[in-house]
Symmetry: none
Subunit: 254 residues, 2 copies
């Protein structure tokens, strides 16, 4: 069971939702399961205004944060989970089935991190760029003949799973790849790191401009997978800042 | 996991639903989780006609059975489960929390029985008369401040719980830290990587000689913790080789 304080570190992020009924339904499900932190990325303005009157979730919707892009919605999150229908694409990240998700999220919240649960637009789902910001994908085990869930129902099912008391829930798993004692890296940390590595690639002529976007996306995927701690990020940032400074100081090849 | 044949013996019964969107949402959730048997008790006729066009669940809605009263909808069911918000009433039947429901339903379906999962009208829930036909009540564990769920979401959450594959093995799920398909980095890989990063640190004057051994050790510890794959190592090696080559080529600061 998550404490109130832990639930308040789980952020539900809706990316470009179109249907105001779905926004309202998502907010209501959050209230049903005791979650309060909602962010909406690039909402369609008229629908967003309409959605703000959803039954039982008025305060939650009033306090929702609006972000221009997904990166702006999750800067302080250390575990970013993208929901995706995987029928038609090959995932680039690890995939966790929803019934196995609670211990993963609990472990992150218990060690003090913030978790984002990200839902894409109704029709298209999350873009590849948005998915590249995710540490891991969550798959709701649906039937192959009708895999695609309604947005409001998908939010309800995920939050139910994360908050349901289960008597024999397994021990929170140790995520082996970073020190449990150290605070986890946030999405903002990883952004800083990706930015300076990208600059280094350019400065060292590693990234031809035609490859730059693809390289950046792969870099983001890699950094997400590594589950770095905050001190790890400080250390690697320090090295790359030094390298970049030296590359630039030494200038073009003589 | 329920077989197809077992799922076809689970009946979803909506008693007097008012909102056609909720009827459609319930049907879509059934399709999402592989259930097919829908009965609707005393639907409001205009709304029922409107609901029959719900996305992805047309066949299911077309085949839905209409009953005049709950008793008529469940004659062949051997286990009748009523869903109820129990905040304001004292239950007369045994109550099962939803996270504990699957084994109860599975046992009934495995022994060949039919199970009905009954949902009341949006505003009032099931009447005392309807509840008296239930063997057992199902409670969705919601937050005390907003216990009442939207009908379509309640159906989705219940059917998710009944169909979710759950392993009984104590094996804790964890986010795998590198692509499972990729071969993991070997100790030799990490040595190569540590070596070139060390050289880069020296070339960029990052590592004063007094710190060099300590830095190398930290670097090794970090690389071990990251659980890199072999392709990860190739990629990072490529970047550092390029950086080192450029640093050396550009020579000492001018």
């Amino acid at each position: 069971m998550l404490t109130r304080e832990q639930r308040d570190r789980l952020h539900v992020v809706l990316v470009s939702p179109r249907n105001p009924l779905n926004i309202g339904a998502a907010a209501r499900a959050m209230a049903n399961f005791g979650f309060s932190q909602l962010s909406v990325v690039a909402p369609y303005e008229p629908h967003w205004r309409e959605a703000r009157s959803a039954v039982g979730a008025e305060t939650l919707l009033r306090n929702a944060r609006i972000a221009k892009c997904l990166a702006d919605a999750i800067p302080d999150c250390s575990l970013v989970l993208g929901t995706a229908a995987l029928a038609h694409r090959k995932p680039e990240q690890p995939v966790v089935l929803l019934p196995a998700l609670a211990p993963v999220v609990q472990a992150e919240l218990i060690r003090g991190g913030r978790t984002a649960l990200v839902f894409g637009p109704e029709k298209r789902g999350l873009t590849s760029d948005d998915l590249s910001l995710c540490h891991c994908l969550v798959e709701i085990p649906t039937h192959s003949r009708q895999p695609s869930m309604n947005l409001g129902q998908a939010v309800a099912v995920c939050l139910y799973e994360l908050s349901a008391p289960r008597s024999n829930s397994p021990e929170p798993p140790a995520i082996p790849s970073s020190h449990l004692a150290d605070p986890p890296a946030t999405a903002h940390d990883l952004d800083l790191l990706a930015e300076i590595i990208d600059q280094t690639m350019v400065s060292a002529n590693y990234s031809p401009s035609i490859m730059r976007n693809a390289n950046r996306r792969h870099l983001h995927l890699l950094l997400c997978r590594l589950r770095l701690s905050h001190p790890d990020v400080r250390r690697i940032l320090g090295l790359f800042r030094r390298v970049l400074w030296q590359l630039d100081r030494r200038g073009r090849p003589r």
